[in-house]
Amino acid sequence: MDCRVPSKGAGAWAVDRPIVTSLRFCRVKSVLAAGATSTMSGFDDPGIYYSDSFGGDPAADEGQVRKSQLQKRFKEFLRQYRVGTDRTGFTFKYRDELKRHYNLGQYWIEVEMEDLASFDEDLADYLYKQPAEHLQLLEEAAKEVADEVTRPRPSGEETLQDIQVMLKSDAHAANIRSLKSDQMSRLVKIPGIIIASTPVRAKATRISIQCRSCHNTINNITVQPGLEGYALPRKCNTEQAGRPRCPLDPYFIMPDKCKCVDFQVLKLQESPDAVPHGEMPRHMQLYCDRYLCDRVVPGNKVTIMGIYSIKKSGQTKNKGRDNVGVGIRNAYIRVVGIQIDTDGSGHTFAGSVTPQEEEELRQLASLPNIYETVAKSIAPSIYGSTDIKKAIACLLFGGSRKRLPDGLTRRGDINLLMLGDPGTAKSQLLKFVEKCSPIGVYTSGKGSSAAGLTASVIRDPSSRSFFMEGGAMVLADGGVVCIDEFDKMREDDRVAIHEAMEQQTISIAKAGITTTLNSRCSVLAAANSVFGRWDETKGEENIDFMPTILSRFDMIFIVKDEHNEERDMILAKHVMSLHVSALTQTQAVEGEIDLNKLKKFISYCRTKCGPRLSAEAAEKLKNRYVLMRTGARQYERESDRRSSIPITVRQLEAIVRIAESLSKMKLQPFATEADIEEALRLFQVSTLDAAMSGSLSGAEGFTTQEDQELLSRIEKQLKRRFAIGSQVSEHSIVQDFVKQKYPEHAIYKVLQLMMRRGEIQHRLQRKVLYRIK
């Protein structure tokens, strides 16, 4: 095209602006001008065609000029901003980051508002007050800088990609409640919890439309970012002679000529501590696009930076009847930056670990007493229970998951059950584990159903189709599920998690959906005795669990509230000091790791280390296993009865897992003999002691064969003498068997078992037994 530049005025502009940038904005008017002049003047008009490249119409172009100046300023910022002092050396923060990201194929950059403000306060102010326009300029500027820093690009990648700019600010966050209309289309910063997210969908940024009757296309129509759509023109403007006018609404979008970006809609809920008393939390819709998609999952605590925007409210039913709602709009936030808060419970990934942190964590792991330190840092406000804390430490770190050659897997997660008296801080430990684990889910037994724990199939209200929604154990994949009040759960619900606990999968076949979900999580459960308090005299009756579930726990602790004056004294002192110094003590005590660091350490160890048993340790465990079994046999021979605590293969696996988790704490590749020693000790103090107190003999593997034979003999005799439909006094039955030299506890056990199977029943104030079947 022929562009003749008029000399007047051009010189004045060219002085302070580089030609290169201003030429980009030269507006070509020749076509229009030509049309206008040719109709008006005669044939003798020579026709001066020109394009006024330097803004012949100052009023209209002022915005354009200002924009290009601002963009230049943004570009200067990205190129020149540096941190550091003359002593430490400078780093060009954004330039380098842009280059790094670009080379990695990550076309985004995060800009801190404070940096921008310190470079040029006006720029930051513009960005705060009119973010929608200026963010685009910043993105354009970033694209230009990226072009400069990555040139020359390798062949095949010459085309420059668009850069997304995310914003980050250090300001105090506002509240969803405090967002008022005066904040509209400004930059706001809001904290909250993501509670729902849609799948990632595509949104066109530039569309091409075509008229279906005359095939006239209009290209490159920019669509506003955000949830605002684009209204297709109702009429086709091209008029061609000899053709009928195009009908109404002739345009359709040509999908193959559109440029699209990813977008996702999230739902943000106010953080619970910001909700006033007695009110429900409020929600806000968020719109994220490009690299902001899939950054967060429901459950994350986040702080978002975004543009407070409005969209058309949803389709009204009585459409067209009254247009009173024209100005009424729904608010949403166009997200321009997301920060994930790592503290707090729930789905809080510790995030990436910087090299300095890694160094620190490795140093921590190489401490000689790291195991004790970690155990001490578990719920430091709870006094004593050292062994339980150690076991919890093992549970948090977990063993190694193994994939066998035949495709099956052995679980590496350690399951733990705490049984005991009320007021022994079981729930506190659970709450702590929830906070401390990289992924923690806390549920209470009575409040959770089988579907809630595993997975449920629900019907989507909008599409009326069925889809799956994961329950607690699915959500906690890769973490810990804490189940409080385990005994208060219904038996059926408890059965639902059998599969999840041993096979670590959840299989669903409901409503036409057949699938298997992963649930690679540890289970930490707490339960009370059947009688509320542990009844020493009742022994095993305290526990009302099926052997199937008991056998799935690697360690079982019985927590008893013992009366001991000295211990009570210390305990009281500890509790008092906790209440007194609740305000003053904020710092971690010497020798403990603070919560955030511990969390980071756990997630680091879990991801970086998968130890195996060393050869010596395996040998040792093997020997100990054999020794225990032979030792037990010897003991049996001496005492002329079989020990009720055999070590079976299942327990052997538990010990291996514990030993692995111990070496994982130290970031060692192999579990040593010392680890085996400690694992055996932990197993001894937990499950074996629990079994020793006679309370677990109902569980599989804890009843010896002889006991079993004895029981079945009693049962057989009982059934023979006790006809169906008859009733006999319980006392007389017991007396009768005792006379035959049967042990009394065995008789009671048989009665208990039969009662559980529903074969007999108590009648008349538990004095008389009635046989049903």
């Binding site: 901003y81 540096r82 941190v83 550091g84 002092t85 003359d86 002593r87 430490t88 400078f90 508002m113 404070e114 940096d115 403000a117 310190s118 470079f119 306060e121 006006d122 930051a124 102010d125 705060y128 600010s169 250090d170 300001a171 105090h172 506002a174 405090s178 007194v580 305000l583 003053t584 710092q587 010497e590």
Partner: protein, 501 residues
């Protein structure tokens, strides 16, 4: 070249002076050892530990007001260079020209008593006694004896009069403790005279001076005078930035004179927090009462600042509000009786983001020095504070700023609770206040500078709170018992309340 031992007291001024001296030593390749001391006891032990290895000792902000020769018992060939802002200087130190060299600015008004008034030559006295012993011998001549007696009694009387006069002079001289020119300025002067002064050194001198002012060690008059002196240096060093052509790069360090608000740390905090936790504003508005809180709201409303913006971090505040914030605040402050909310001070600016007022640095360094978060030996936090003064350790400085905020908040809360619960008790010419052990922040005040700040805040707030103008001439006396150290820090503030009004 012999090595030098630097004994540095634990206050910000001393740190700054030390920093300047270290830079000078570095120029001249002088080897030195740095030992922080806090208190005479530590000074003595540090001296005893090192006296065999060193001949030259530099004492910064310690030692001038004790008789060094008597306390330390040094060898003959040991030399002390004392740079101490504390006054009065012990007269023995002043008149010992062999071993003790004092670094004092010549225009400092020291009021040192004349030599003849307080010292007599020992020899003369010995001669006298020799005469006496001679005179006591029976020599025979009665008249001569009488003469001798008269002479002796005359001498004795003269001596007694002299003694009494000496006592009086010394009492007058040593009656009040006060502070002279900051050591950092003295050191900077030294560097300047050696033509080795740098912009960094100038900044440390400014920080040293500001420390004296923040801690109320010097009067407003003296502060303004010294600021004036420093301003000349500032304009000498930073003139290059004024014209467009040879302007400095943004990364260079620039010091600028500012007529800024005396709100503590406000540029790194929110305006609201700063208003609440600055002694001057909180005392004038009486923020511990409900009325005071209302007054604060009125004050903010008068300035036309929305609460939401005031509570926002200063950095993220709305630009349009920040534009002429200082004038606006000053104007409204005048209405509320805060006449001198703005003071002359300096700011430092380097890089894009780093802008600090001199008082920011003082607060940050002081709280780093007295950090009680971790049980570290005193030297560790001393070194940390020293490091934070140099520009390359921004992280430490920012940490210090956070600690300072915490400290100021704690002071404010303690002051409020003391005044609201009438814990300040008037006892004769003194006011005293006992802090309960076990209250949350009491641990913060276990170090001298924090305790000093607390008591000064308390005093000012008490003066504002009380209606009884008679108490204006009283002094505060603050005691805080430290269980762990098994000793009581007792702090008397020998400034009459009149001075702080």
């Amino acid at each position: 070249m012999p090595r030098v031992l630097l004994l540095v007291a634990s206050d910000v001024d001393a740190l700054c002076a030390c920093k300047i001296l270290q830079a000078l030593f570095q120029c001249d390749h002088v080897q030195y050892t740095l030992v922080p001391v806090s208190g005479w006891q530590e000074l003595e032990t540090a001296f005893l530990e090192h006296k065999d290895q060193f001949k030259y000792f530099v004492l910064i902000n310690c030692g001038a007001n004790i008789d060094l020769l008597e306390v330390l018992q040094p060898e003959e060939d040991t030399f002390f260079f004392v740079c101490d802002s504390r006054r009065p200087i012990n007269v023995v130190n002043v008149y010992n020209d062999m071993q003790i060299k004092l670094l004092v600015k010549p225009d400092d008004d020291l009021n040192i008593p004349a030599y003849d008034d307080i010292f007599r030559d020992e020899e003369e006295e010995e001669e006298d006694s020799g005469n006496e012993s001679d005179g006591s011998e029976p020599s025979g001549k009665r008249k001569r004896f009488e003469e001798a007696v008269v002479e002796r009694t005359m001498k004795r009387r003269e001596r007694r009069v002299w003694e009494a006069r000496r006592q009086e002079i010394l009492f007058d001289y040593e009656q009040y403790e006060y502070h002279g020119t900051s050591s950092a300025i003295v050191m900077f002067d030294l560097a300047w005279k050696m033509s080795k002064d740098l912009n960094d050194m100038l900044w440390w001198a400014i920080v040293g001076l500001t420390d004296q002012w923040v801690q109320d060690k010097i009067t407003q008059m003296k502060y303004v005078t010294d600021i004036g002196i420093l301003q000349r240096h500032v304009s000498r060093h930073n003139h290059r930035n004024e014209d467009e052509e040879n302007s400095l790069s943004i990364d260079c360090m620039r010091i600028a004179f500012e007529y800024d608000l005396r709100l503590a740390l406000y540029q790194h905090w929110s305006l609201y927090e700063s208003l609440c936790n600055t002694c001057y504003t909180s005392a004038s508005l009486k923020l511990w009462s409900v009325q005071g809180q209302k007054r604060l709201q009125e004050f903010l409303a008068d300035m036309g600042l929305p609460l939401k913006q005031v509570k926002q971090k200063f950095n993220s505040m709305d630009m349009s509000l920040k534009e002429n914030l200082r004038d606006m605040i000053e104007e409204s402050a005048n209405k509320f009786g805060m006449k001198d909310l703005r003071v002359q001070t300096f700011s430092i600016h380097f890089g894009f983001k780093n802008k600090f007022l001199a008082s920011d640095i003082v607060y940050a360094t002081a709280s780093l020095m007295e950090n009680i978060e971790k049980e570290e030996p005193g030297t560790a936090s001393f070194i940390k504070a020293l490091d934070s003064l140099s520009r390359s350790n921004l992280e430490k400085l920012h940490h210090g700023l956070e600690l300072a905020k915490k400290q100021l908040r704690a002071i404010q809360q303690t002051v409020a609770s003391c005044i609201c619960t009438n814990l300040v008790i008037s006892q004769g010419p003194f006011l005293y206040c006992c802090l309960m052990e076990g209250t949350p922040d009491v641990k913060l005040f276990s170090r001298p500078v924090s305790l000093c700040l607390l008591s000064k805040y308390l005093l000012k707030s008490f003066v504002c709170s009380t209606k009884n103008k008679r108490s204006l001439t009283k002094r505060t006396f603050l005691a805080e018992r430290l269980r762990r150290l098994q000793r009581a820090h007792i702090l008397g503030l020998y400034t009459t309340i009149l001075t702080c009004l």
